[in-house]
Amino acid sequence: MSPRPWFAAVLVVAFAVALTFLTLPVVAIFVDSSPGKLIESLGDPVARDALWLSLKTTTIALLLILAIGTPAAYFLATRRFPGRALAITLVELPLVLPPAVAGIALLAAVGPTGILGGAISDAGIELVLETAGVVVALTFVASPFYVRQAQAAFSSVDRTLMEAARTLGASEARTFARIVIPAAMPSLAAGTALALGRALGEFGATLMFAGSFRGITQTVPLAIYDRFSTDFPAALALSSVLVAVSAAILLSVKLVSRVEVLGGRAPS
């Protein structure tokens, strides 16, 4: 293949277009409003309630995802059963569902008129319009990010390590805790970060399923939408917080995967 100048030019132009397109809106958030004004807007009680609620619901959702998603992913990674490929696809489906569909789906499943709605309210559990409903929405949309990553990580753990532990008399549970989890840790951390990012940004499913009420169900993205029409600078301020947190998440994923590469090389 001889170098074609026009091809190189196409690459450069495409790269420049992509970079500008993806960066400009994010930069604009910080340029459109002065830093002083941003900080001032964050002092607002409504903004603080939203930030606190987002922190709380995201944390609970993540704990649920880790507690149930980790063993579930291990099951998917280590067991062969009929319909496994289908099960994996179903587990991953929320990954590509539009948020509005997720909201409708949750209402149809566990909403007041949903197929399990009666049973849930008989059990005395309130989800819709409650903070618990926000947690359900976040968990639904974010967990596939973690489960997928965790399953891949568990699948790639060296079998001989696990078998060695078993032949030395360790139970499967012990092998899982002492060998598999540490070996998969960098990937699990990356999966956690991705799920965190998705949960933090959830909007549509939360609004449709849990509603919007200050301090109860109005997370940061909902507060941003609510502010947009009346107080643009305040909406920008909250947006800038999400940008900063998301950037931190992305950065930590990159650092973790770097550690993974280095860690992989170390023993040899």
């Binding site: 209402l107 909403g111 007041p112 008129t113 819709v128 319009l129 609004l207 449709m208 509603g211 919007s212 009420f213 200050r214 109860i216 169900t217 109005q218 939408y225 609510d226 947009f228 029409s229 009346t230 643009f232």
Partner: protein, 255 residues
């Protein structure tokens, strides 16, 4: 792979579709972009299809969101709001031509059909009743605040305590009601009509009723000002006026 033009052609065609560039498109009818209040969804969707002199693209959201978009530089050809306040403000700031009142509506208390919880405004005070309202910035929310502000303080506070969701537009309130996530909500009479029996309206006492007048105007700098003016006039008298009456909107008072 000799030509390599396929993907580029596809991308260019896609762009054309998305941005609506490339002139008039769709024969020689001018293409109108109309930003309209959520509560106008059914009425305007039915009358704007197949208008003889314009191809209309409607964008529905809370009137406050649409007004904020216009303030941020979005330029639809026309703006139809669920109040006259937002169009008047935008007109004063030079962003709209003179607004025209084109319909009235009535704020009602809506309940899911057949639910036993709420039969009157007074029932909203009962502990455990769940209410959805519009957020303060959207017209339906501010009309709701008007109603509540006319009630005695104690009653107003009891009702406010039962508010469980503040939705960004009236369709959000309707959705919470049809899903039976709440027992009652304040919406427009036309919204109840549009649910075809799934919701029931409880009328408010005349002394509590806010004056709900819809205003529309051509946006300054509209690409199709002539067609837009015709469309806005048609909201008052014409196909769309008839569709509005059918949907349960009242005629505008003489100006």
């Amino acid at each position: 792979m000799k030509t390599g033009r396929g993907p580029i052609t596809v991308a260019a065609t896609a762009l054309l579709f998305v941005c609506g560039c490339g002139g008039k498109g769709g024969g020689d009818k001018p293409r109108l972009v109309v930003s309209a209040a959520s509560s106008l969804t059914e009425a305007l969707s039915s009358c704007s299809d197949g208008l003889p002199d314009a191809k209309v693209r409607l964008s529905f959201a809370g009137s406050d969101e649409l007004a904020a978009q216009i303030r941020r530089g979005v330029r639809p050809d026309a703006f139809a709001a669920a109040n006259t306040k937002l169009p008047d403000e935008l007109y004063r700031d030079g962003l709209l031509e003179k607004p025209l009142a084109f319909a009235t509506n009535e704020l009602v208390l809506a309940v899911p059909t057949g639910s036993g919880e709420v039969h009157s405004l007074g029932d909203l005070r009962k502990a455990g009743v769940k209410i959805a309202v519009g957020s303060d910035s959207v017209p339906v929310g501010s009309y709701t605040q008007d109603v509540l502000s006319r009630l005695p303080t104690a009653e107003r506070e009891q009702i406010s305590r039962n508010v469980r969701s503040r939705e960004p537009d009236v369709k959000g309130v309707v959705g919470k009601l049809t899903q039976r996530a709440v027992d009652a909500g304040f919406v427009y009479a036309s919204d109840v009509e549009a649910t075809k029996g799934r919701l029931q309206a409880i009328r408010l006492a005349r002394s509590l009723q806010p004056v709900v007048v819809y205003g529309a105007a051509v946006v300054q700098g509209a690409r199709q000002p002539k067609a837009a003016r015709k469309y806005v006039r048609g909201l008052r008298s014409g196909n769309c006026a008839a569709a509005l009456r059918d949907a349960g909107f009242g005629p505008p008072q003489a100006q």
